[in-house]
C-alpha cells in the first residue's frame, strides 16, 4: 500500500526523508502519526524478507513511537525558559544535519566525477627507475597499513606447530580418530566431557570433527535439553 521501492533508501533517515518527500510534507511540521505508521509498515516488510541491517531501523521506529506518544500528552512539555518543547525537534535536527551531508556527498561525488576525467600517467610511460621495483611489495606507512600487515601475518602464517605461542595443533582427522576411540569404549559421551579442560583450538577442531562425522552418519548428535550441552553416540542412520 505504501509504494516505495526498498532500494530507494540507504538507511532509516533516508527512508524518513523519502516518506516526507513523497507526501510533500514540510519537514518542520511532520505529521508524526502518519509518518510513523508508514515507517513501521516498511520495517515490518523489511523484517519479513529478512533484510540486512534492520536493527538500525528499529531505533528510529522506537524514537518515532515515543515522539508520537509525547505529542499526545494533554499538557505540552516546557523547557527551562518556559517555551513549549516540540517532541519532534531532535528528529528534525537529525534529519536536517543528515541532509547537509547528503548534499555534500552529492557535491563531492560530482567533484570526483569531474576529476576522474583528467588522466594521469599510465604504466606504459613509467620511467625505467620505477619499472624494476624491488621484489618486495612496497606499502605506505599508515596505521591501517600496519593493521593490514598484521592481517597478512595472520593469513600467511605458518601452521600452528611452528608457532611457540600456540604449541598444540589438532587436525579434524586426528580428532575424529580420538572420538572414535572414545565412542568404542563409551558408546555415548557429552560434548562437555569430551573437551573438558582442553584448549580453545582443541575444542574448535573437535567440534568440527563431530559435525563432519555426523554429516557422514558415523555418529548421532543428541540434544539433552540441559543448557547448551549435547551428547554424541556411535552410529548414524545405519543403526536405526
Amino acid at each position: 500500500m505504501y509504494r516505495v521501492e526498498l532500494e530507494d533508501f540507504e538507511g532509516p533517515l533516508d527512508l524518513l526523508l523519502l516518506l516526507i518527500n513523497r507526501r510533500e510534507i514540510d519537514i518542520f511540521d511532520i505529521p508524526i502519526a502518519q509518518i510513523t505508521n508508514e515507517y513501521l509498515a516498511y520495517v515490518q516488510l523489511m523484517e519479513s524478507i529478512n533484510l540486512d541491517g534492520v536493527a538500525d531501523y528499529i531505533y528510529f521506529a522506537a524514537l518515532l513511537i515515543s515522539i508520537k506518544a509525547r505529542m499526545l500528552l494533554p499538557q505540552p512539555e516546557m523547557d527551562a525558559e518556559d517555551d513549549e518543547i516540540d517532541p519532534r525537534q531532535q528528529l528534525v535536527d537529525q534529519l536536517l544535519e543528515y541532509i547537509r551531508y547528503k548534499d555534500a556527498a552529492e557535491t563531492l561525488n560530482q567533484q570526483l566525477e569531474q576529476r576522474s576525467r583528467l588522466f594521469t600517467r599510465g604504466k606504459a610511460s613509467m620511467p625505467p627507475e620505477v619499472e624494476t621495483p624491488e621484489k618486495e611489495v612496497l606499502v605506505k606507512a599508515t596505521v591501517f597499513e600496519l593493521m593490514n600487515a598484521l592481517r597478512l601475518v595472520l593469513e600467511d602464517a605458518p601452521d600452528e606447530e611452528t608457532i611457540t605461542i600456540v604449541p598444540q595443533q589438532y587436525s579434524i582427522e586426528d580428532q575424529s580418530e580420538h572420538i572414535r576411540r572414545i565412542l568404542f569404549t563409551k558408546k555415548r559421551i557429552s560434548f562437555h566431557d569430551l573437551v573438558r579442560g582442553q584448549t580453545r583450538s582443541f575444542i574448535v577442531v573437535t567440534f568440527l570433527a563431530i559435525l563432519e562425522m555426523a554429516y557422514g552418519h558415523e555418529i548421532c548428535i543428541l540434544n539433552t535439553f540441559e543448557g547448551n550441552a549435547f551428547m554424541i553416540e556411535q552410529g548414524g542412520i545405519t543403526d536405526v
Partner: protein, 227 residues
Amino acid sequence: MCEINQKVVNTEVTMEMVLEALAFAAETPVSVAQIRSVYAEVAASDDIPTEEAVQEAVELLNASFEQQGHALRIQKWAGGLRMATTETVAPFLETFFQRERARRLTRPLMETLAIIAYRQPTTKVEVDAVRGVDSGYAIRKLLSLDLLSITGRAEVAGRPILYRTTDRFLEEFGLNDLEGLPNLRQAEELLGEANFDQERLRLLMANGIDHGDQKPVERTSDEDTTI
C-alpha cells in the same frame, strides 16, 4: 653521484624541465619542497631555488602547454604537483579505456567520506549517528581505498579510533587541501532552494531511484567502488 651530476650541469636543464619531468614521472603529487631539493642536489648548486621559482615554473609550463596546443597540464593536488590530461581529450581517453562513465562512489561510501571529510578527525560513532546506520563496512572500504586513514584515538571513554581523509582523497577529488572542500551548506539554505522537496531531494535520491532494477537484498554497497 658527483660524477653523474657533473655531466648534467653543463647542459641547460631549466627548472621547468625538472618540474615537468618530476610531475610527469611521480606516482603521487610532488611537493614544491621536493622539487627544490632535488634540483639543488643534482645541479650541485649552493643556491636552493626558491618556492616562488617553482611556482613561476608551473605557470610558465602551463602557459606554454596551452599556447602550443598540448593536452597536458600541471595540476595542484594534495599540496603537490602532478601532470594530467586536459578535460578536452577526456572523451578520447574514455573511449580508449572503454570506460562508460566517470568514477563515482556508492552512496554509503560517499556519505561516510563526506561526514569524515568535514568533521575530521572523527570517530565511527559520530558517523553512525549522522547517517543513522552502521558505517563499519564503508569505513573499512574507504580505508582500503586509501581515502581514509587512522590518526590516533580520541581521549574519551572507550578511546575510539579517529579517522581523517588522506592525501589520496585530495588527489582523487582534485583538491589541493582541505580548505578547497566545497562549503558545507546549511540545511535551511538547501530547503530554501526552489522546489527543494521535489527537485533537490529527488536528485539526492537519484542513485537509488535510477537503479530500480537492482535487487534490494544484494545491494550491500560493495559494487561500483572503482577508484
